[in-house]
Amino acid sequence: MSAQALTPHPAHFENQNELNDRAAIDASCARPVMWFLASSVVWLLVGTVLAMLASYKMHSPGFLDQWAWLTFGRVRPAHLNAVTYGWASMAGIGVVLWMQARLSRVQLAFPRVLTATAVLWNIVVAIGIGGILAGWHTSVEWIEFSLPVALALAVLFSVFALISFYTFARRQTTHVYVTQWYMFGAILWFPYLYLIANVMIHLGQARGVAQASTNWWFAHNVLGLWLTPIGVGAAYYLIPKVIGRPIHSYYLSILGFWSLALFYNWAGTHHLIGGPLPAWLVSVGIVGSMMMFIPVITVAINHHLTMRGHFHMLRTSPTLRFVVAGAMTYTAVSAQGSLMSLRSLNEVTHFTHYTIAHSHLGVYGFFTMIMFGSCYYIMPRLTGIEWSSARLIRIHFWSVLVGMALYWIGLTWGGVRQGFMLNDPAVPFLDVVRYTLPYLWSRSVAGALMTLGHVAFAVLVARMLLAWRRRHADAEWEPEPEPAARPARAEAGA
Protein backbone atom coordinates (compact mmCIF):
# COMPACT_ATOMS: atom_id res chain seq x y z
CA MET A 1 0.00 0.00 0.00
CA SER A 2 1.69 3.17 -1.11
CA ALA A 3 1.83 6.30 0.96
CA GLN A 4 -1.35 8.32 0.74
CA ALA A 5 -1.26 11.82 2.04
CA LEU A 6 -4.62 12.89 3.33
CA THR A 7 -3.71 16.53 2.96
CA PRO A 8 -1.48 18.35 0.47
CA HIS A 9 2.12 17.85 1.31
CA PRO A 10 2.92 20.20 4.18
CA ALA A 11 5.55 22.91 4.23
CA HIS A 12 8.89 21.98 5.68
CA PHE A 13 8.23 24.14 8.72
CA GLU A 14 5.05 22.26 9.71
CA ASN A 15 6.87 18.98 9.26
CA GLN A 16 9.48 20.21 11.64
CA ASN A 17 6.88 21.02 14.25
CA GLU A 18 5.51 17.51 14.07
CA LEU A 19 9.02 16.24 14.59
CA ASN A 20 9.60 18.51 17.53
CA ASP A 21 6.30 17.55 19.06
CA ARG A 22 7.02 13.89 18.89
CA ALA A 23 10.56 14.37 20.10
CA ALA A 24 9.36 16.59 22.92
CA ILE A 25 6.69 14.10 23.90
CA ASP A 26 9.19 11.25 23.92
CA ALA A 27 11.63 13.39 25.89
CA SER A 28 9.02 14.17 28.53
CA CYS A 29 8.34 10.44 28.90
CA ALA A 30 11.96 9.37 28.94
CA ARG A 31 12.86 9.26 32.61
CA PRO A 32 9.58 8.09 34.15
CA VAL A 33 8.77 5.51 31.48
CA MET A 34 12.34 4.17 31.40
CA TRP A 35 12.20 3.86 35.17
CA PHE A 36 9.07 1.75 34.94
CA LEU A 37 10.29 -0.34 32.01
CA ALA A 38 13.82 -0.91 33.29
CA SER A 39 12.50 -1.78 36.76
CA SER A 40 10.08 -4.23 35.20
CA VAL A 41 13.00 -6.01 33.52
CA VAL A 42 14.74 -6.36 36.89
CA TRP A 43 11.58 -7.88 38.32
CA LEU A 44 11.38 -10.17 35.32
CA LEU A 45 14.77 -11.54 36.30
CA VAL A 46 13.76 -11.88 39.96
CA GLY A 47 10.54 -13.60 38.94
CA THR A 48 12.47 -15.90 36.63
CA VAL A 49 14.83 -17.02 39.39
CA LEU A 50 11.87 -17.69 41.67
CA ALA A 51 10.16 -19.52 38.81
CA MET A 52 13.13 -21.81 38.22
CA LEU A 53 13.32 -22.51 41.94
CA ALA A 54 9.64 -23.36 42.13
CA SER A 55 9.73 -25.50 39.01
CA TYR A 56 12.76 -27.46 40.17
CA LYS A 57 11.33 -28.03 43.60
CA MET A 58 8.18 -29.53 42.13
CA HIS A 59 10.00 -32.54 40.72
CA SER A 60 12.99 -32.52 43.08
CA PRO A 61 11.52 -31.50 46.41
CA GLY A 62 14.71 -32.01 48.39
CA PHE A 63 16.35 -29.05 46.65
CA LEU A 64 17.16 -26.25 49.13
CA ASP A 65 14.59 -27.59 51.56
CA GLN A 66 16.38 -26.62 54.75
CA TRP A 67 14.76 -23.26 55.21
CA ALA A 68 11.18 -22.23 55.62
CA TRP A 69 11.73 -19.09 53.60
CA LEU A 70 12.57 -21.16 50.52
CA THR A 71 9.84 -23.74 50.89
CA PHE A 72 7.81 -24.28 47.73
CA GLY A 73 4.67 -22.93 49.37
CA ARG A 74 6.33 -19.52 49.70
CA VAL A 75 8.51 -19.49 46.58
CA ARG A 76 5.53 -20.09 44.33
CA PRO A 77 3.46 -17.08 45.50
CA ALA A 78 6.64 -14.98 45.60
CA HIS A 79 7.13 -15.83 41.92
CA LEU A 80 3.54 -15.03 41.04
CA ASN A 81 3.57 -11.65 42.75
CA ALA A 82 7.00 -10.72 41.39
CA VAL A 83 5.94 -11.34 37.80
CA THR A 84 2.47 -9.83 38.25
CA TYR A 85 3.11 -6.69 40.27
CA GLY A 86 6.80 -6.33 39.44
CA TRP A 87 7.25 -7.31 35.80
CA ALA A 88 3.81 -7.23 34.22
CA SER A 89 2.31 -4.24 36.01
CA MET A 90 5.35 -2.01 35.79
CA ALA A 91 5.88 -2.81 32.11
CA GLY A 92 2.18 -2.21 31.57
CA ILE A 93 2.27 1.15 33.34
CA GLY A 94 5.30 2.26 31.33
CA VAL A 95 3.59 1.31 28.08
CA VAL A 96 0.31 2.98 29.08
CA LEU A 97 2.04 6.24 29.99
CA TRP A 98 3.96 6.45 26.74
CA MET A 99 1.01 5.51 24.55
CA GLN A 100 -1.30 7.96 26.29
CA ALA A 101 1.21 10.76 25.76
CA ARG A 102 1.83 9.82 22.14
CA LEU A 103 -1.82 9.33 21.27
CA SER A 104 -2.90 12.49 23.04
CA ARG A 105 -0.03 14.27 21.26
CA VAL A 106 0.87 16.03 24.45
CA GLN A 107 3.77 15.84 26.86
CA LEU A 108 3.48 13.58 29.87
CA ALA A 109 2.31 15.49 32.94
CA PHE A 110 4.26 15.48 36.20
CA PRO A 111 7.15 13.31 35.02
CA ARG A 112 9.07 13.72 38.28
CA VAL A 113 6.13 12.51 40.34
CA LEU A 114 5.88 9.50 38.05
CA THR A 115 9.57 8.73 38.46
CA ALA A 116 9.14 8.86 42.24
CA THR A 117 6.14 6.56 41.88
CA ALA A 118 8.29 4.04 40.02
CA VAL A 119 10.98 4.12 42.67
CA LEU A 120 8.46 3.68 45.47
CA TRP A 121 6.66 0.93 43.57
CA ASN A 122 9.92 -1.02 43.47
CA ILE A 123 10.39 -0.64 47.18
CA VAL A 124 6.84 -1.64 48.01
CA VAL A 125 6.92 -4.73 45.81
CA ALA A 126 10.28 -5.72 47.26
CA ILE A 127 8.82 -5.51 50.76
CA GLY A 128 5.84 -7.54 49.60
CA ILE A 129 7.96 -10.28 48.05
CA GLY A 130 10.28 -10.41 51.05
CA GLY A 131 7.21 -10.63 53.24
CA ILE A 132 5.85 -13.58 51.32
CA LEU A 133 9.12 -15.47 51.73
CA ALA A 134 9.06 -14.68 55.43
CA GLY A 135 5.52 -16.00 55.76
CA TRP A 136 3.96 -12.54 56.06
CA HIS A 137 1.17 -12.84 53.53
CA THR A 138 -2.56 -13.45 53.27
CA SER A 139 -2.54 -16.94 51.70
CA VAL A 140 -5.13 -15.72 49.22
CA GLU A 141 -4.10 -16.39 45.63
CA TRP A 142 -3.18 -13.28 43.65
CA ILE A 143 -3.78 -11.09 46.71
CA GLU A 144 -0.95 -12.34 48.89
CA PHE A 145 0.49 -8.96 49.78
CA SER A 146 -0.24 -8.00 53.38
CA LEU A 147 -2.53 -5.07 53.95
CA PRO A 148 0.06 -2.27 54.37
CA VAL A 149 1.83 -3.38 51.19
CA ALA A 150 -1.41 -3.67 49.26
CA LEU A 151 -2.56 -0.25 50.43
CA ALA A 152 0.74 1.37 49.48
CA LEU A 153 0.47 -0.17 46.03
CA ALA A 154 -3.10 1.07 45.69
CA VAL A 155 -2.00 4.62 46.52
CA LEU A 156 0.86 4.53 44.01
CA PHE A 157 -1.46 3.14 41.39
CA SER A 158 -3.94 5.94 41.97
CA VAL A 159 -1.19 8.50 41.43
CA PHE A 160 -0.35 6.89 38.11
CA ALA A 161 -4.01 6.70 37.12
CA LEU A 162 -4.70 10.36 37.94
CA ILE A 163 -1.67 11.58 36.04
CA SER A 164 -2.71 9.47 33.04
CA PHE A 165 -6.12 11.08 33.03
CA TYR A 166 -4.64 14.52 33.48
CA THR A 167 -2.35 13.96 30.52
CA PHE A 168 -5.34 12.87 28.46
CA ALA A 169 -7.33 15.91 29.58
CA ARG A 170 -4.67 18.12 28.03
CA ARG A 171 -4.78 16.29 24.70
CA GLN A 172 -4.20 18.04 21.41
CA THR A 173 -6.25 15.59 19.37
CA THR A 174 -9.99 15.38 18.80
CA HIS A 175 -10.00 11.70 18.17
CA VAL A 176 -9.61 9.08 20.92
CA TYR A 177 -7.81 6.15 19.35
CA VAL A 178 -8.97 2.65 20.24
CA THR A 179 -5.78 1.96 22.20
CA GLN A 180 -6.65 4.80 24.52
CA TRP A 181 -10.05 3.21 25.21
CA TYR A 182 -8.32 0.01 26.22
CA MET A 183 -5.81 1.84 28.41
CA PHE A 184 -8.55 3.82 30.12
CA GLY A 185 -10.43 0.64 30.78
CA ALA A 186 -7.40 -0.85 32.44
CA ILE A 187 -6.64 2.27 34.47
CA LEU A 188 -10.22 2.72 35.65
CA TRP A 189 -11.16 -0.83 36.50
CA PHE A 190 -8.04 -2.21 38.12
CA PRO A 191 -7.79 0.09 41.16
CA TYR A 192 -11.43 -0.43 41.86
CA LEU A 193 -11.04 -4.22 41.72
CA TYR A 194 -7.88 -4.12 43.80
CA LEU A 195 -9.47 -1.98 46.45
CA ILE A 196 -12.61 -4.09 46.75
CA ALA A 197 -10.68 -7.35 46.81
CA ASN A 198 -8.31 -6.16 49.51
CA VAL A 199 -11.08 -4.67 51.59
CA MET A 200 -13.04 -7.91 51.40
CA ILE A 201 -10.02 -10.03 52.24
CA HIS A 202 -8.58 -7.91 55.02
CA LEU A 203 -11.44 -5.98 56.52
CA GLY A 204 -14.72 -7.44 55.35
CA GLN A 205 -17.05 -9.93 56.86
CA ALA A 206 -16.31 -12.23 53.96
CA ARG A 207 -15.64 -15.76 54.98
CA GLY A 208 -15.57 -19.11 53.35
CA VAL A 209 -17.13 -19.50 49.94
CA ALA A 210 -18.22 -15.87 49.68
CA GLN A 211 -14.62 -14.87 50.03
CA ALA A 212 -13.60 -17.53 47.51
CA SER A 213 -15.86 -16.02 44.89
CA THR A 214 -14.44 -12.54 45.64
CA ASN A 215 -10.96 -14.02 45.39
CA TRP A 216 -11.48 -15.43 41.93
CA TRP A 217 -13.60 -12.56 40.69
CA PHE A 218 -10.58 -10.41 41.44
CA ALA A 219 -7.88 -12.79 40.24
CA HIS A 220 -9.52 -13.32 36.91
CA ASN A 221 -10.11 -9.63 36.47
CA VAL A 222 -6.43 -8.93 37.00
CA LEU A 223 -6.02 -10.84 33.76
CA GLY A 224 -9.13 -9.64 32.02
CA LEU A 225 -9.45 -6.00 32.98
CA TRP A 226 -5.86 -5.02 33.74
CA LEU A 227 -3.39 -7.07 31.69
CA THR A 228 -5.58 -7.93 28.70
CA PRO A 229 -6.65 -4.38 27.80
CA ILE A 230 -3.07 -3.16 28.06
CA GLY A 231 -1.82 -6.00 25.86
CA VAL A 232 -4.57 -5.77 23.26
CA GLY A 233 -4.45 -1.97 23.28
CA ALA A 234 -0.70 -1.97 22.74
CA ALA A 235 -1.07 -4.39 19.83
CA TYR A 236 -3.70 -2.13 18.24
CA TYR A 237 -1.17 0.69 18.19
CA LEU A 238 2.06 -1.15 17.44
CA ILE A 239 0.94 -3.43 14.61
CA PRO A 240 -0.37 -0.63 12.37
CA LYS A 241 2.46 1.69 13.39
CA VAL A 242 5.19 -0.81 12.56
CA ILE A 243 3.79 -1.96 9.24
CA GLY A 244 2.63 1.53 8.26
CA ARG A 245 -0.96 0.60 7.61
CA PRO A 246 -4.15 1.45 9.56
CA ILE A 247 -6.22 -1.14 11.38
CA HIS A 248 -8.32 -3.08 8.90
CA SER A 249 -11.65 -2.52 10.58
CA TYR A 250 -11.81 0.21 13.11
CA TYR A 251 -15.44 -0.64 13.75
CA LEU A 252 -14.48 -4.18 14.78
CA SER A 253 -11.87 -2.88 17.17
CA ILE A 254 -14.43 -0.72 18.91
CA LEU A 255 -16.92 -3.58 19.07
CA GLY A 256 -14.19 -5.75 20.51
CA PHE A 257 -13.41 -3.29 23.25
CA TRP A 258 -16.98 -2.73 24.39
CA SER A 259 -17.87 -6.41 24.40
CA LEU A 260 -14.74 -7.13 26.45
CA ALA A 261 -15.80 -4.40 28.85
CA LEU A 262 -19.21 -5.98 29.21
CA PHE A 263 -18.41 -9.66 29.52
CA TYR A 264 -14.99 -10.15 31.02
CA ASN A 265 -15.74 -9.25 34.59
CA TRP A 266 -18.43 -11.92 34.89
CA ALA A 267 -16.10 -14.80 34.12
CA GLY A 268 -14.21 -15.11 37.40
CA THR A 269 -16.12 -17.90 39.11
CA HIS A 270 -15.15 -20.41 36.42
CA HIS A 271 -12.17 -21.03 38.69
CA LEU A 272 -14.50 -22.66 41.19
CA ILE A 273 -16.52 -25.06 39.06
CA GLY A 274 -17.48 -28.13 41.04
CA GLY A 275 -16.73 -26.28 44.25
CA PRO A 276 -19.07 -25.49 47.14
CA LEU A 277 -20.56 -22.41 45.56
CA PRO A 278 -24.15 -21.64 44.69
CA ALA A 279 -24.77 -23.08 41.27
CA TRP A 280 -26.03 -19.82 39.77
CA LEU A 281 -22.78 -18.06 40.66
CA VAL A 282 -20.73 -20.64 38.86
CA SER A 283 -23.14 -20.68 35.90
CA VAL A 284 -22.85 -16.93 35.49
CA GLY A 285 -19.09 -17.39 35.31
CA ILE A 286 -19.45 -20.01 32.61
CA VAL A 287 -21.83 -17.84 30.56
CA GLY A 288 -19.51 -14.85 30.86
CA SER A 289 -16.59 -17.00 29.79
CA MET A 290 -18.42 -18.24 26.69
CA MET A 291 -19.54 -14.72 25.74
CA MET A 292 -15.89 -13.77 25.63
CA PHE A 293 -15.69 -15.51 22.24
CA ILE A 294 -17.18 -12.34 20.74
CA PRO A 295 -14.42 -9.85 21.59
CA VAL A 296 -11.71 -12.44 21.11
CA ILE A 297 -12.80 -13.35 17.61
CA THR A 298 -13.19 -9.71 16.58
CA VAL A 299 -9.62 -9.00 17.71
CA ALA A 300 -8.31 -12.03 15.86
CA ILE A 301 -10.06 -11.14 12.61
CA ASN A 302 -8.95 -7.56 12.84
CA HIS A 303 -5.28 -8.26 13.49
CA HIS A 304 -5.15 -10.91 10.81
CA LEU A 305 -6.73 -8.72 8.15
CA THR A 306 -4.46 -5.85 9.12
CA MET A 307 -1.39 -8.05 8.84
CA ARG A 308 -2.49 -9.76 5.63
CA GLY A 309 0.09 -9.16 2.91
CA HIS A 310 2.57 -7.87 5.45
CA PHE A 311 3.65 -11.04 7.23
CA HIS A 312 7.05 -10.75 5.56
CA MET A 313 7.75 -7.83 7.90
CA LEU A 314 8.03 -10.33 10.73
CA ARG A 315 11.50 -10.96 9.38
CA THR A 316 12.55 -7.35 9.61
CA SER A 317 10.92 -5.97 12.75
CA PRO A 318 11.66 -7.22 16.27
CA THR A 319 8.65 -5.42 17.68
CA LEU A 320 6.32 -7.00 15.15
CA ARG A 321 7.57 -10.50 15.90
CA PHE A 322 6.88 -10.25 19.58
CA VAL A 323 3.59 -8.39 19.25
CA VAL A 324 2.14 -10.64 16.56
CA ALA A 325 3.22 -13.75 18.47
CA GLY A 326 1.51 -12.29 21.53
CA ALA A 327 -1.63 -11.32 19.62
CA MET A 328 -2.00 -14.76 18.06
CA THR A 329 -1.50 -16.34 21.46
CA TYR A 330 -4.24 -14.07 22.79
CA THR A 331 -6.73 -15.67 20.46
CA ALA A 332 -5.55 -19.17 21.28
CA VAL A 333 -5.46 -18.79 25.04
CA SER A 334 -8.82 -17.03 25.17
CA ALA A 335 -10.48 -19.73 23.11
CA GLN A 336 -8.89 -22.29 25.39
CA GLY A 337 -10.10 -20.41 28.42
CA SER A 338 -13.67 -20.25 27.20
CA LEU A 339 -13.64 -23.99 26.53
CA MET A 340 -12.12 -24.76 29.91
CA SER A 341 -15.16 -23.32 31.60
CA LEU A 342 -17.41 -25.99 30.13
CA ARG A 343 -18.18 -28.46 32.88
CA SER A 344 -17.26 -31.57 30.94
CA LEU A 345 -13.79 -30.25 30.21
CA ASN A 346 -13.40 -28.68 33.61
CA GLU A 347 -14.12 -31.95 35.36
CA VAL A 348 -10.88 -33.30 33.92
CA THR A 349 -8.60 -30.27 33.94
CA HIS A 350 -9.47 -28.54 37.21
CA PHE A 351 -6.74 -28.87 39.84
CA THR A 352 -4.17 -30.10 37.30
CA HIS A 353 -1.04 -28.75 35.62
CA TYR A 354 -3.19 -28.09 32.57
CA THR A 355 -4.49 -24.98 34.30
CA ILE A 356 -0.94 -23.78 34.93
CA ALA A 357 -0.06 -24.25 31.26
CA HIS A 358 -3.09 -22.17 30.37
CA SER A 359 -2.37 -19.35 32.79
CA HIS A 360 1.21 -19.08 31.59
CA LEU A 361 0.08 -19.08 27.99
CA GLY A 362 -1.99 -16.05 28.88
CA VAL A 363 0.30 -14.00 31.09
CA TYR A 364 3.47 -15.01 29.28
CA GLY A 365 2.57 -16.14 25.76
CA PHE A 366 0.18 -13.24 25.29
CA PHE A 367 0.91 -10.38 27.65
CA THR A 368 4.64 -10.74 28.22
CA MET A 369 5.39 -11.19 24.52
CA ILE A 370 3.49 -8.00 23.72
CA MET A 371 5.36 -6.19 26.48
CA PHE A 372 8.65 -7.38 25.02
CA GLY A 373 7.60 -6.04 21.64
CA SER A 374 6.52 -2.76 23.21
CA CYS A 375 9.87 -2.36 24.97
CA TYR A 376 11.71 -2.96 21.71
CA TYR A 377 9.73 -0.14 20.10
CA ILE A 378 9.56 2.35 22.96
CA MET A 379 12.98 2.25 24.59
CA PRO A 380 15.04 3.41 21.59
CA ARG A 381 12.60 6.26 21.05
CA LEU A 382 12.98 7.44 24.62
CA THR A 383 16.72 7.12 24.92
CA GLY A 384 17.79 7.88 21.37
CA ILE A 385 19.98 4.78 21.56
CA GLU A 386 19.66 1.89 19.12
CA TRP A 387 19.63 -1.74 20.28
CA SER A 388 23.19 -2.98 20.35
CA SER A 389 22.84 -6.45 18.86
CA ALA A 390 20.41 -7.96 16.40
CA ARG A 391 21.73 -11.38 17.37
CA LEU A 392 20.77 -10.97 21.02
CA ILE A 393 17.29 -9.90 19.94
CA ARG A 394 16.95 -13.04 17.87
CA ILE A 395 18.23 -15.17 20.75
CA HIS A 396 15.71 -13.52 23.02
CA PHE A 397 12.83 -14.12 20.62
CA TRP A 398 13.52 -17.72 19.75
CA SER A 399 14.44 -18.79 23.29
CA VAL A 400 11.24 -17.52 24.79
CA LEU A 401 9.05 -18.64 21.90
CA VAL A 402 10.37 -22.19 21.89
CA GLY A 403 10.50 -22.18 25.69
CA MET A 404 6.87 -21.15 26.02
CA ALA A 405 5.77 -23.67 23.40
CA LEU A 406 7.59 -26.46 25.20
CA TYR A 407 6.15 -25.29 28.52
CA TRP A 408 2.62 -25.36 27.20
CA ILE A 409 2.87 -28.64 25.33
CA GLY A 410 4.46 -30.50 28.25
CA LEU A 411 2.08 -29.37 30.96
CA THR A 412 -1.03 -29.50 28.75
CA TRP A 413 -0.43 -33.07 27.71
CA GLY A 414 0.70 -34.12 31.17
CA GLY A 415 -2.12 -32.19 32.80
CA VAL A 416 -4.88 -33.79 30.76
CA ARG A 417 -3.54 -37.27 31.49
CA GLN A 418 -3.14 -36.28 35.13
CA GLY A 419 -6.77 -35.20 35.18
CA PHE A 420 -8.05 -38.44 33.74
CA MET A 421 -5.99 -40.43 36.22
CA LEU A 422 -7.21 -38.35 39.14
CA ASN A 423 -10.78 -39.01 38.10
CA ASP A 424 -10.13 -42.76 38.05
CA PRO A 425 -10.39 -43.93 41.65
CA ALA A 426 -8.56 -47.14 40.80
CA VAL A 427 -5.35 -45.17 40.22
CA PRO A 428 -3.52 -44.52 43.50
CA PHE A 429 -2.70 -40.85 44.02
CA LEU A 430 1.04 -41.45 44.25
CA ASP A 431 0.96 -43.13 40.84
CA VAL A 432 -0.48 -39.92 39.43
CA VAL A 433 2.33 -37.97 41.07
CA ARG A 434 4.93 -40.29 39.60
CA TYR A 435 3.31 -39.98 36.17
CA THR A 436 3.62 -36.21 36.08
CA LEU A 437 7.34 -36.13 36.88
CA PRO A 438 8.73 -36.14 33.33
CA TYR A 439 6.33 -33.35 32.40
CA LEU A 440 7.46 -31.29 35.37
CA TRP A 441 11.01 -31.83 34.21
CA SER A 442 10.07 -30.66 30.72
CA ARG A 443 8.75 -27.47 32.30
CA SER A 444 12.10 -26.88 33.99
CA VAL A 445 13.84 -27.33 30.65
CA ALA A 446 11.40 -24.91 29.05
CA GLY A 447 12.02 -22.50 31.91
CA ALA A 448 15.76 -22.69 31.34
CA LEU A 449 15.20 -21.63 27.72
CA MET A 450 12.99 -18.77 28.78
CA THR A 451 15.62 -17.72 31.31
CA LEU A 452 18.19 -17.57 28.52
CA GLY A 453 15.90 -15.27 26.58
CA HIS A 454 15.38 -13.02 29.58
CA VAL A 455 19.10 -12.74 30.17
CA ALA A 456 19.65 -11.77 26.53
CA PHE A 457 16.95 -9.13 26.88
CA ALA A 458 18.36 -7.82 30.16
CA VAL A 459 21.81 -7.49 28.59
CA LEU A 460 20.33 -5.47 25.73
CA VAL A 461 18.47 -3.19 28.13
CA ALA A 462 21.50 -2.76 30.38
CA ARG A 463 23.68 -1.81 27.42
CA MET A 464 21.11 0.70 26.28
CA LEU A 465 20.89 2.26 29.73
CA LEU A 466 24.67 2.54 29.97
CA ALA A 467 24.90 4.13 26.53
CA TRP A 468 22.10 6.51 27.48
CA ARG A 469 23.88 7.58 30.61
CA ARG A 470 27.11 8.08 28.69
CA ARG A 471 25.34 10.22 26.12
CA HIS A 472 23.76 12.30 28.87
CA ALA A 473 27.14 12.83 30.47
CA ASP A 474 28.65 13.76 27.11
CA ALA A 475 25.78 16.09 26.32
CA GLU A 476 26.62 18.29 29.27
CA TRP A 477 29.69 19.42 27.38
CA GLU A 478 27.81 20.13 24.16
CA PRO A 479 25.85 23.26 23.39
CA GLU A 480 22.09 22.92 23.46
CA PRO A 481 21.17 21.65 19.97
CA GLU A 482 19.02 23.76 17.63
CA PRO A 483 15.42 22.58 17.35
CA ALA A 484 15.94 21.98 13.62
CA ALA A 485 18.76 19.57 14.31
CA ARG A 486 16.84 17.97 17.14
CA PRO A 487 16.20 14.35 16.14
CA ALA A 488 18.24 12.73 18.89
CA ARG A 489 16.61 9.43 17.97
CA ALA A 490 18.86 7.05 16.12
CA GLU A 491 17.80 6.85 12.50
CA ALA A 492 17.48 3.09 12.70
CA GLY A 493 14.84 2.73 15.37
CA ALA A 494 12.81 5.80 14.51
Partner: protein, 61 residues
Amino acid sequence: MTATFLMILGGVVLIAATTIFGLAWAVRRGQFGDLRRGARSIFDEDEPIGRPTDRFPGDPS
Protein backbone atom coordinates in the same frame (compact mmCIF):
# COMPACT_ATOMS: atom_id res chain seq x y z
CA MET B 1 -21.84 -12.92 53.24
CA THR B 2 -24.40 -10.28 52.38
CA ALA B 3 -21.71 -7.63 52.47
CA THR B 4 -19.54 -9.64 50.10
CA PHE B 5 -22.18 -10.21 47.50
CA LEU B 6 -23.37 -6.64 47.67
CA MET B 7 -19.83 -5.44 47.21
CA ILE B 8 -19.20 -7.70 44.24
CA LEU B 9 -22.53 -6.74 42.76
CA GLY B 10 -21.75 -3.11 43.44
CA GLY B 11 -18.40 -3.55 41.79
CA VAL B 12 -19.88 -5.11 38.71
CA VAL B 13 -22.63 -2.48 38.51
CA LEU B 14 -20.08 0.29 38.84
CA ILE B 15 -17.95 -1.19 36.09
CA ALA B 16 -21.04 -1.53 33.92
CA ALA B 17 -22.02 2.05 34.75
CA THR B 18 -18.64 3.48 33.79
CA THR B 19 -18.85 1.42 30.62
CA ILE B 20 -22.23 2.93 29.75
CA PHE B 21 -20.99 6.38 30.61
CA GLY B 22 -17.92 5.98 28.45
CA LEU B 23 -19.99 4.62 25.58
CA ALA B 24 -22.49 7.47 25.87
CA TRP B 25 -19.68 10.02 26.00
CA ALA B 26 -18.07 8.53 22.93
CA VAL B 27 -21.30 8.52 20.99
CA ARG B 28 -22.15 12.09 21.98
CA ARG B 29 -18.71 13.35 21.06
CA GLY B 30 -19.00 11.77 17.64
CA GLN B 31 -16.12 9.37 18.21
CA PHE B 32 -17.94 6.78 16.13
CA GLY B 33 -18.61 9.22 13.33
CA ASP B 34 -15.67 8.85 11.03
CA LEU B 35 -14.13 5.46 11.59
CA ARG B 36 -11.68 5.73 8.73
CA ARG B 37 -10.27 8.91 10.19
CA GLY B 38 -9.92 7.20 13.53
CA ALA B 39 -7.85 4.37 12.13
CA ARG B 40 -5.58 6.83 10.33
CA SER B 41 -5.17 9.18 13.28
CA ILE B 42 -1.96 7.52 14.43
CA PHE B 43 -0.21 8.46 11.19
CA ASP B 44 1.06 11.88 10.20
CA GLU B 45 3.37 13.57 7.74
CA ASP B 46 6.44 12.39 9.55
CA GLU B 47 5.34 8.77 9.94
CA PRO B 48 2.90 8.38 7.06
CA ILE B 49 0.87 5.41 5.95
CA GLY B 50 3.02 3.08 3.91
CA ARG B 51 6.27 3.57 5.80
CA PRO B 52 7.30 0.88 8.29
CA THR B 53 8.74 2.27 11.52
CA ASP B 54 10.73 -0.57 13.00
CA ARG B 55 13.56 -2.81 11.97
CA PHE B 56 16.43 -4.83 13.39
CA PRO B 57 19.46 -2.76 14.41
CA GLY B 58 22.02 -2.66 11.65
CA ASP B 59 19.52 -3.51 8.93
CA PRO B 60 19.37 -1.08 6.04
CA SER B 61 16.17 1.01 6.01
